[in-house]
């Protein structure tokens, strides 16, 4: 391996930049989430610390650093201490393979706007994202608290269950692009002239739903379902240990969003995409659109029950992902050149069918609510009385 000092410096600088960027996106995201949720709930949200309350997450972090680290009596001290780090580290390093731009020319060198262009990018992501669950399980187990344990067990079962549809959903785009490298997948989307969300809409939907579950976000936030398990696996955590869990959750959210952006939304591609400086901007715009969707869902939907959650993962998403894979493979094998247009048409048909089916299901899903009450009348949801 030739040793090149400049390469070394570039690598370190890139890693540092991504690291700092990730850690600064988190407070912005937390702030955004609180503001958006507040907006949905007709509240004001944080508005005291800094302009528009922008410094609120920072203030929280500083406060948390100065808080006492409480160690539960009977806790496994070593595991208890390291569990937040175990949760945090994979969350950060998963991002390494996500490209946020094409190639920049800095000081006469070509610099990939990506920490590491690994040729097995997707496998890397899958491998690391499942590591995060260790932190949660260990935290739940080591706390010597039943709520923590239940939360930890819940989340481990949940995360590994949704790992399957998540992994399967990504095979479709891989088939279409013929590469595991995320950079190569973006290029493939450029060549095809269409983002993979169009030919692989089903995969995108499965991926996104699994992503909610993987990041423990509402409506899949069961491991920390406050109304059931108080605070779930981090019930016993205080001070900055708690903050690490909290940050890891948001970093994971960013990663899931970034991967979705890269694989399904064309990554850094966009109008005037050849201007290098615009590429990270496009990337961030798409990323935040997905994150906004995450937040929006949280403000709208109730939480699933545990058995329904497992059922959804194993009995709905897994077959769907498998189906998507089989159809994609068949189309690709029969018509290698026009696979993407055919899949796009199929996706559109699927979306149409889905919309119609959902309409029918939701119309039929209300049973006669109460004796003497008829179905909601057409003009409004009010029940009318039979005489």
């Amino acid at each position: 391996m030739p040793f090149d000092v400049t390469e070394l410096v570039i690598a370190i600088v890139k890693a540092l930049v991504v690291f700092v960027a990730l850690l600064s996106i988190v407070p912005v995201l937390i702030w955004m989430e609180r503001k958006v949720i507040a907006d949905i709930q007709i509240r004001i949200g944080p508005n005291r610390a800094g302009p528009f309350g922008l410094l609120q997450p920072l203030a929280d972090a500083i406060k948390l650093i100065f808080k006492e680290n409480i160690i539960t009596q009977g806790a496994d001290k070593v595991v208890y201490f390291f569990a937040p780090a175990v949760s945090m580290v994979p969350a950060i390093i998963t991002f390494a393979v996500v490209p946020f731009g094409d190639t920049a020319h800095i000081l006469g060198r070509k610099v990939l706007l990506q920490v590491a262009d690994v040729n097995i990018g997707i496998l890397y992501i899958l491998a690391l994202s499942s590591l995060g669950v260790y932190g949660i399980v260990l935290a739940g187990w080591s706390s010597n608290n039943k709520y923590s344990l239940l939360g930890g067990v819940r989340s481990s079962a949940q995360m590994i269950s949704y790992e399957l549809p998540l992994g399967l959903a990504l095979v479709g785009p891989v088939l279409l692009s013929g590469s595991l490298s995320l950079r190569e997948m973006i290029n493939a989307q450029g060549r095809a002239g269409v983002w993979f969300i169009v030919p692989q809409f089903l995969a995108f939907a499965v991926y996104l739903i699994s992503g909610f579950a993987e990041t423990n976000r509402a409506p899949f936030d069961l491991p920390e379902a406050e109304q059931e398990l108080t605070a779930g696996y981090h019930t016993e955590y205080s001070s900055f240990r708690f903050a690490l869990f909290y940050m890891a959750e948001y970093v994971n959210m960013v990663t899931v969003g970034a991967v979705a952006t890269t694989i399904f939304l064309g990554g850094w591609r966009g109008p005037f995409g050849n201007i290098v400086i615009l590429q990270p901007v496009w990337f961030l715009v798409k990323l935040f659109a997905i994150l906004y969707f995450f937040i929006w869902v949280r403000g709208t939907l109730p939480r699933l029950r545990y058995d329904k959650l497992m059922k959804l993962g194993w009995k709905v998403l897994l077959p769907l992902a498998l189906l998507n894979l089989m159809v994609t493979a068949t189309v690709k094998a029969l018509a290698p050149q026009s696979a993407i247009p055919i899949m796009s048409v199929l996706s559109l048909v699927l979306v149409a069918i889905g919309v119609i089916a959902l309409t029918i299901i939701s119309a039929r899903s209300t049973r006669t609510p109460a004796s003497g009450l008829r179905e909601p009348s057409a003009e409004g949801a009010f029940y009318t009385w039979e005489s």
Binding site: Q41, T300, P302, S365, L373
Partner: protein, 596 residues
């Protein structure tokens, strides 16, 4: 009303049965009062529950009174069992004089609802019930000594030491220190209750012995509606068994009421059901008025109905919000609170207070409604319906909502009746029983409204019933507003209500009345009275006992949440942990009312 003063003997029993059967719903006399020996109660209860023509299947409450030092009563204590026939709405009051120290047979085998009622009577007044399935204290700590609702229980009070320096305050032995066997209050707090023998845990002991996980849900839990403690035996996520532990919020309101004048005790009722305080005001006031034998003017009646229904809407909005919150739909929670604020604004406009209004007073209302009140209520009548449509759109057909609520926390009508469940909770199971229709009060018979019922008795049906009740309440409010009578807002007997302020400057008599009512109160004729009302949570009423004099001798409340809570373990057993949360939210309990 049939009253038999003599104790039941075997000869009089048949005659009494015949008399009880003769009372039918078409006649006015639907109340039966009878008296029996403690030894007879189980036999009597069995006959009255099982006889096909009687069917008094619903035990509303067991009232326990200590007639300590009162002449004219043979026995010191008295138990009053109140049971209903929910087909023709006959009511029976079985009075049982109990001499000091005598034990009474438990009727929990006849009416399972009696389980908690009898535990309460034991806890607070020291009754001994033979063959009781679970003879433990219920509201007070297990280490507590004595029974505070006995009249000879000392009322404590500790001297307040004024000092600017904390160190100068000397530790004193207080009343509380004498209340625990062999230890002071501080020692008790430091030791904690013995978990194994403590209330709530012991029914689960067999699961603990089987090495199942026993988890405490509450009292410090985000979704137990206050300070309810649920001990759950879990297998993974499945609930094997559950036990309720209550009393964390017990503040001795019934004991406090005995130290206050009738009109002062009113303020305590606000603090019980703090989500629907005006409903409690009304229930209490109606009982006292029945004892006094007064009828309030029509304007007061209509305004009371209007306020009670607004309270019901406010309470149901609170229910909807917290219920949705517990199922993870956080936004609905905040929307509902905003709507509820509108009602609290109306209360504030009328009474100056948002929550603990004490606005409905003995003899009418405290004040007449102010200018702009009607406009504000009309505004609200226009405001809420679109909001309700919105909540239906958000929740009623939401697949996740349906999955979380349908078939969850089911209770059948029969079980509900056995456990004493009332209100929207039993209507969700399909029983069309509403006190406003069954035993109308405050002129409810003049209003046109429907009673929504469900059919499955699950969380979803209870939710729908409450959603519809809000709309029916709006109908009632609109009718009351449209036909609001003029006239006085209270009676004009100034021996009971305070004379008008402007009279004080011109009339010596008014000054005397004012002085007497405010400082000494008014005497209420000896006797006792109970009026059922339909609060937001179910059948609510106050059994007020007077021995003459300005203070209630005994004020026994029938808190609907108390009985409903008793049925909770039955609803959640076999479900999942998340269903417990959904079910607790759906029965809409208020711990302030349960614990008093």
């Amino acid at each position: 009303m049939t009253v038999t003063d003599e104790l039941i003997t075997s000869e009089s029993f048949d005659r009494l049965l015949a008399e009880a059967k003769a009372l039918s719903r078409r006649e006015e006399g639907r109340e039966i009062t009878l008296k029996c020996e403690p030894a007879e109660i189980v036999r009597l209860a069995g006959v009255f529950r099982d006889d096909p023509e009687l069917r008094f299947s619903f035990l509303s409450d067991i009232v326990y009174v200590d007639h300590y030092g009162q002449p004219g009563n043979g026995a010191r204590f008295e138990l009053i069992y109140r049971a209903y026939n929910l087909d023709d709405y006959r009511r029976i009051h079985i009075r049982v004089p109990v001499p000091d120290g005598q034990s009474v047979d438990s009727v929990a085998g006849i009416w399972p609802a009696a389980n908690w009622y009898e535990r309460e009577a034991f806890d607070l007044m020291g009754f001994r019930f033979a063959n009781h399935p679970d003879p433990r204290r219920i509201l007070l700590p297990s280490a507590f000594a004595g029974h505070p609702l006995r009249k000879d229980f000392p009322i404590g009070g500790e001297e307040v030491q004024f000092s600017v320096n904390w160190g100068e305050i000397e530790p004193q032995e207080t009343m509380l220190d004498q209340c625990f066997e062999g230890m002071t209050w501080k020692e008790y707090v430091e030791r904690g209750d013995d978990i194994e023998t403590e209330a709530g845990a012991s029914p689960l002991r067999k699961w603990a012995e089987e090495d199942r996980m026993i988890i405490n849900m509450g009292p410090q839990h985000p979704s137990t509606h206050g300070v309810l403690r649920l001990a759950l035996a879990l297998e993974g996520e499945t609930v094997l068994d559950a036990a309720c532990d209550i009393g964390f919020l017990h503040t001795g309101i019934e004991k406090s009421a005995e130290q206050l004048m009738f009109q002062q005790a009113l303020t305590l009722t606000d603090r019980m059901d703090y989500a629907g305080p005006l409903g409690d005001n009304l229930a209490y006031v109606l009982s006292v008025e029945k004892l006094l034998g007064i009828e309030v003017p029509p304007r007061a009646q209509a305004l009371r109905v209007m306020l009670a229904e607004l309270t019901r809407i406010a309470s149901h909005l609170l229910f909807l919000g917290t219920h949705a919150l517990e199922l993870g739909a956080v936004s609905v929670f905040l929307y509902c609170f905003q709507d509820r604020e509108q009602i609290l604004d109306i209360f504030e406009l009328a009474s100056g207070v948002r929550l603990m209004t004490s606005y409905i007073n003995i003899g009418g209302l405290r004040d007449d409604i102010p200018e702009g009140f009607s406009a504000k209520v009309r505004e609200f009548l226009e405001y809420l319906p679109p909001k309700l449509v919105e909540y239906h759109a958000l929740l009623t057909r939401n697949p996740i909502w349906l999955e979380r609520t349908r078939g969850v926390g089911v209770i059948s009508v029969e079980d509900g009746i056995r456990m004493g469940v009332s209100g929207a909770n039993i209507r969700g199971s399909g029983l069309k029983w509403d006190v406003r229709k069954a035993w109308p009060y405050s002129g409810y018979e003049n209003y046109d409204f429907e009673i929504p019922t469900g059919s499955n008795g699950d969380v979803y049906d209870r939710y729908l019933v409450r959603m519809e009740e809000m709309r029916q309440s709006l109908r009632i409010v609109r009718q009351a507003l449209d036909n609001l009578p003029g006239g006085d807002y209270r009676i004009s007997d100034y021996k009971i209500v305070l004379p008008p302020r402007d009279r004080l400057a011109v009339s010596m008599e008014a000054v005397i009345h004012h002085f007497l009512v405010a400082s000494r109160g008014f005497d209420v004729p000896a006797g006792d009275a109970y009026v059922s009302t339909e609060s937001a949570r179910g059948e609510m009423g106050f059994h007020v006992v007077s021995h003459g004099g300005p203070k209630p001798w005994r004020m026994k409340m029938r808190p609907p949440s108390f009985a409903t809570l008793q049925a909770l373990p039955k609803m959640v057993t076999g479900g999942m942990l998340a269903d417990v949360v959904a079910t607790v939210g759906s029965i809409d309990i208020i711990l302030g009312e349960v614990d008093r």
